[in-house]
Symmetry: C2
Subunit: 206 residues, 2 copies
DNA sequence: TAGATTGTTAATCGATTAACAATC
DNA sequence: TAGATTGTTAATCGATTAACAATC
């Protein structure tokens, strides 16, 4: 009888946007905000923001709004952004190179701790501060290093087989930069980053 | 009386995914596909694919499915992906560097043709094959070079003012890598790329 | 023809919004 | 207290799906 409906994916998808905005407001030195303020900043209705938050509890005070630091902490907790996540990077090409050097992770609780490739020319060489490992050693290293998230930066043709290996190795979340939709078993999370897709979503309107 | 409802944004958002899959099938040497095939590959219902396409015309044959090359051409035309778009890159930091060197654009009809920064230390220097220009010269260069799309790769604190300058200069589409939601007038397109947002959308489920 | 798949309609499902009592 | 804003309900809106006649 304790049928709790899961929070819709679309709501979860907005929480990181809220969290990002709250961090920004904090950095600006603000301490209080209202759903109307956030709504104006984010281009989302205030009712939607309140409704989204209400899935998780009551974080505001009537007449006052929200304590930014408090709401930030709550969202970090809900999203599990209050801990550090170990990530593996698969693919040591140009794209992998850029991702490995990207600074935006650290400080947000995400860190790349190992890099894999299947090219014998690359294995053993360095990519930034990492030694490139043979993808054949993926499963054991993922276990040893307690990797929970993988970033896929291999060519489209290789992506599905890499993803299969990752799933096999017990990875639960994959950030896929390869320009292809991949198949994963239910329960494994995949998110996509493909700039071309975003650009084509805009050119239609130009 | 010619009230034509615009095609929903969410439908436009899926078209590039379809196009990407069709290109992949073509590269694999296939010539025909059915909505059921695509559905299986993309994790989308076949009814939805057919409905999405029906907004733009009748591209299939009953009993047969779709000619891949033909449907690909149609989608390219709808999305205006059958021409070349000139892009300006704003921000010559680490992220801008990675974006400028990213190879995935060319061949898809997108090309960066100029790079801007506001740092006097950087202006005049080279970023890859580009000489970094003063952002103060943005408007005139955008006009001269017929730039229609901008990629924003500046720190969050600078993003809104850069976006304001871009809008002022007549840019109609912005791909924003800065981790902040920006305000633009109606009619200006913005798409966001922030890996942290994608990662946080997954950790909730882990 | 028989089999398959489209394009489209109507039904279902889910998400957004408007409105307001509760309350700080 | 008066004013403001939350959390939540009910109404609206829009998107997805199931089903099937049309037809290749």
């Amino acid at each position: 009888m304790s049928e709790t409906k899961p929070v819709p994916d679309i709501v979860i998808g907005r929480l990181p946007i809220y969290l990002r905005a709250l961090n920004y407001l904090l950095a600006e030195g603000q301490t209080i905000t209202a759903s109307k303020d956030l709504a104006l900043r984010l281009g989302i209705s205030s009712a939607q923001i309140r409704k989204d938050l209400s899935h998780f509890g009551e974080f505001g005070k009537q007449g006052m709004g929200y304590d930014i630091a408090h709401l930030r902490d709550q969202l970090r907790s809900i999203l599990k952004a209050d801990r550090v996540w170990n990530m593996a990077l698969i693919g040591a090409g140009d794209l992998g190179h850029a991702i490995a050097h990207y600074a935006g992770w650290e400080g947000k609780g995400f860190r790349i701790i190992c890099v894999f490739d299947n090219n014998p020319q690359k294995i053993g060489r360095n990519l930034g501060r990492f030694q490139i490992c043979d993808i054949a050693t993926l499963a054991e290293r993922v276990r040893e290093l307690e990797v929970e998230i993988a970033i896929v930066a291999v060519p489209a043709q290789a992506a599905q087989s890499v993803v299969d290996k990752l799933v096999e190795a017990g990875i639960g979340a994959i950030l896929n930069y390869a320009p292809i939709t991949v198949k994963v078993p239910a329960g494994v999370q995949v998110q996509y980053i493909d700039p071309v897709i975003h650009l084509q979503r805009m050119t239609y309107y130009l």
